[in-house]
C-alpha cells in the first residue's frame, strides 16, 4: 500500500499503514490482553515498522490499511462480514490501538456506532437526551440550545416527557439518531446505522448527511446496504480479508464488492453431487456449462440477457424417458424458480453414452448478484431418481448499475414493466 504524505490543509483523517491483529482463541486472547497491558505500563511496546509479528492463534483483522479523508468527503466502507471494516472504525474512533501504523485526525470525532448508548429505560425521553448527548460529548448548554431541534427531528415532541421504556424500538432509534445527528464533528463515523428507522426518517437522515458534508464535515459510513451508498457517499473503500482492495468511485466500488461477495458465496456453496444409491448403473450429469447467446462459455451477464445452460448426461446403459429438473437459485434465497424438461421436450430415451441437453433462459429476470443451478436427473417414473447436482453453473449478474432513483435498488427479481402518466384523476373521471 502506498505511503501517504503528511496531513494537507483540508485533510481530516490520515490512516497510514495500519495493522491490527486479533486472537481467535478466547483464553489466549485474555492472556495476551494481560501481557499487552503489562507491556504498555512497562513501556515495552514500541511501534514496529511494517507488519507486526503474529503470536499463536492470532490473525490480521486489518492489514496495511492506508487512506486519507478530506473535508466534506463521505466515504462508504463496504465489504463482507469479517473484512475489517468495524475494526478499522474502532481504531479511527480511538477505541482500540493499531498494532502498527498510525492514524491522524484533525478536529472532533463523532461516532454513531450504536444509537442510544447510555439510555436508561426508566428515565424520560428528555432526561435521556441529556445523558446521551453528554456521552457523545455535548455540553448541557449546547443541548439546551438544540433540544427543540433534536426532539423535532426525531418527531417525538408529544412523548418526550414519557419514560423511554414506553417507546417503540423505532422511536428509540429515532431519538438516538437525532441526538447524534446534531453533533457537529469534523469527522462523523457511522456503523450500520442507516439500516434503522422507517423510510421517511431514513430520507431525512440522508438529507441531514448531505447538509453536514456541504458544511465541511467528513463522514465514514459502514454499511451492508450498499444500494444506499450512491445517495450519500462520494467514494468507497472496499475491504476484503483485512485489506483495502479498492479506494475510489462509488459505483465501481459497489461492483467490486458484489464480485467479492459472489466469490465468497461461490466458495461458501461448493458443488455437491447426490447420486441414487439403489440403482446400479445410474445415469449421471457429467458437465454443466453456462453460455451466452452465441454459445460461448460465459459467467457474467446483464439483467435481461439470454443465457444457455448446457447439461451433459452420461448413461452407462439405456435410460428411458429421461427428465431433467432445473432450479435457478441464489445464495441468499435458495431456489428462485424451477423448470422441467418435459415442458418443451418429449421425454427422450437415452442410449448408453453421453447426451447433451440445453436450457435457454430468454431474458434473465435477475438483479446484481451471484446465481447458480440445482439440476436433477430422473428416469421414467416420478420416483426414478438418477442424480442431482447442487451449486452447478455459477454465474453473476454484473449490470446494469444500481439506479439511485430506485430502479433495481431492492431485491433479486427484475420484471418487464412500463409506466404511464394518465393525468389528473378529476379529468379522467370527467371523461
Amino acid at each position: 500500500m502506498e505511503k501517504i504524505s503528511p496531513m494537507n490543509n483540508d485533510t481530516i483523517l490520515t490512516v497510514d499503514g495500519v495493522w491490527k491483529k486479533y486472537c481467535r482463541q478466547l483464553k489466549r486472547a485474555m492472556w495476551y490482553g494481560v501481557r499487552d497491558i503489562a507491556g504498555q505500563v512497562a513501556m515495552r511496546r514500541q511501534p514496529p515498522a511494517g507488519r507486526p509479528a503474529l503470536r499463536k492463534n492470532e490473525f490480521f483483522a486489518v492489514r496495511d490499511a492506508s487512506f486519507e479523508l478530506r473535508a466534506g468527503e463521505c466515504v462508504g466502507m463496504i465489504g463482507p462480514n469479517g473484512a475489517g471494516k468495524s475494526t478499522m472504525l474502532k481504531i479511527i474512533n480511538g477505541l482500540i490501538r493499531p498494532d502498527a501504523g498510525r492514524v491522524e485526525i484533525r478536529g472532533k470525532v463523532g461516532a454513531l456506532i450504536e444509537l442510544g448508548t447510555g439510555f436508561n429505560p426508566v428515565l424520560s425521553g428528555r432526561e435521556n437526551v441529556y445523558v446521551n448527548a453528554a456521552v457523545l460529548g455535548m455540553g448541557k448548554r449546547e443541548v439546551d440550545r438544540m433540544f427543540d431541534d433534536i426532539v423535532e427531528f426525531a418527531g417525538l415532541a408529544h412523548v418526550i416527557g414519557d419514560p423511554i421504556k414506553t417507546y417503540s424500538s423505532g422511536m428509540k432509534v429515532r431519538l438516538g439518531f437525532s441526538v447524534a445527528a446534531h453533533l457537529r464533528p469534523r469527522l462523523l463515523i457511522m456503523d450500520e446505522v442507516l439500516a434503522v428507522g422507517d423510510v421517511a426518517f431514513r430520507m431525512k437522515c440522508f438529507k441531514h448527511f448531505n447538509t453536514l458534508t456541504q458544511n465541511g464535515t467528513s463522514i465514514i459510513l459502514v454499511t451492508h446496504a450498499v444500494g444506499m451508498l450512491p445517495r450519500v457517499a462520494t467514494r468507497t473503500l472496499v475491504f476484503d480479508q483485512g485489506k483495502i482492495c479498492f479506494d475510489g468511485d462509488v459505483q465501481q466500488g459497489m461492483t467490486i464488492y458484489e464480485e467479492n461477495l459472489s466469490a465468497t458465496e461461490k466458495s461458501a456453496r461448493p458443488l455437491t453431487v447426490e447420486a441414487s444409491d439403489h440403482l446400479a448403473g445410474a445415469a449421471s450429469i457429467v458437465r454443466v456449462e453456462v453460455r451466452d447467446a452465441t454459445g460461448q462459455a460465459c459467467s457474467s451477464f446483464q439483467t435481461g440477457d439470454p443465457l444457455r445452460l448446457a447439461i451433459d448426461v452420461h448413461c452407462p446403459q439405456k435410460l428411458e424417458s429421461a427428465r431433467l429438473v432445473v432450479a435457478l437459485c441464489s445464495p441468499r434465497h435458495d431456489e428462485l424458480g424451477s423448470t422441467s424438461s418435459v415442458t418443451s421436450l418429449q421425454r427422450p430415451d437415452l442410449d448408453a453414452g453421453t447426451h447433451r441437453f440445453e436450457l435457454e433462459i430468454r431474458q434473465l429476470p435477475l438483479l446484481l448478484g451471484s446465481y447458480y443451478f440445482n439440476i436433477s436427473l430422473y428416469g421414467a417414473d416420478i420416483t426414478d431418481f438418477q442424480q442431482r447436482q447442487s451449486g452447478a453453473g455459477v454465474f453473476r449478474i454484473v449490470g446494469p448499475e444500481v439506479d439511485v432513483n430506485g430502479n433495481g435498488l431492492y431485491g433479486t427479481v427484475s420484471f418487464a414493466h412500463a409506466w404511464s402518466y394518465n393525468g389528473s384523476v378529476a379529468a379522467i373521471e370527467k371523461t
Binding site: R44, I96, G118, V131, V135, G139
Partner: protein, 311 residues
Amino acid sequence: MNTRPKPPTNPPSANASGEPLCAPDGGPDSQVTIYDASSDLARPGRLLWRIGSDFWAGRELAWRLFIRNLRGLYRQTLLGLLWIFLPPVANTAIWVFLKSRNVFSFGGEVQTSETVYILAGMILWQSFIEAFQMPMNSISQNRNMISKLNFPRESLVLEGIADLVFNFLVRGLILLPAFLIFGVAIQPLALLSALPLAILLLVLAVGMGLILAPFGSLYQDVGRFIGMVAPFWMILTPIIYVAPTTFPGNLLNWLNPASPLLVATRDLVVTGTTGQIWPALVYGIATVPVFLLGLVVWRVSMPAVVERMPA
C-alpha cells in the same frame, strides 16, 4: 494516544445557520489526535496532564451518569435511599447480636458504645469495599458504552467517586442518631480530623481497584475471588474487635491496606483518639502514588480491554 494542538490553516467554514462550524484557532477543531502502537507512558508527564484534563472534560458526563443512575435506581425501588443504610445497619445488628451471645470478644477494651463502635466500622468497611470494587463494576456496567464510544474514561471514575461520596455521606448520617441513642459524645475536632483520613481510605481503595479493574474485566475470576474473600477480609480488619497491638496481630494490621486508615478514622469518630496514627500516616502517604498508578493503569489498559470485549 496523543493530542497536540496544530495551527489551523483553513478559515473556519460556516453551517447553514451561519454559526462557525470549525472552532477558532486553538479550539478542538484545530487539534490533531494521533493513534499508534506506542505506549502513552513514554511521556509520563504529558500522560498525567492528559488524565487531569480528561477528568475536567468528563465532569459533565460524570454528573449526568451519576444523576441517571441515582434516578434510575430509586425510581425502581420501594425503599429508595434506605438501601444505602440497610447493609451496614443489618451487618451491625448481626454482630451486636453475636456479641451479646458472647460468640466473639473485642480482644480489648472499647472506650465507647459497642454498637456505635461496630456501626462506624461497618459504615467505613462498606464504603471501602464498594470503592475497591467500583472501577471493576463500572467497566462491567458501562461495557456497552465503553466498547462503542470514545469518551473520557476518567468520567466513569469520577461518576463512581460521586456515587461513593454520596453513599458515604448518607451512611454517615445514621451515625448521628446512633450517637444520641447510645449516649456517645460527638467531638467536632476529632470528627474534622477523621474526615481527611476517611477520604484517603476511599481514595486508596479506588486506586487499588483501578489497578485491578482491567485484569478483572479480562478474567471474571478476579471479581469472583474478591466476592469470596471480602467477608474474610472484613474479619481480618479490626471492625468487630480492637486493633491488636502485639505480634503477629499488629503485623497483620500493618499489612492489611484496609486496616490502618479505617481503624484510625473509626477511633477518631467514636472515641476522639487513635493509637493507629503512624500506620494511618504511612498508608495516607502511599495513597497518592497508588491512586496515580491506578489512573495510569486504567487509562493505558482501556484499549486492550475494549479489544477483548464482546461486540
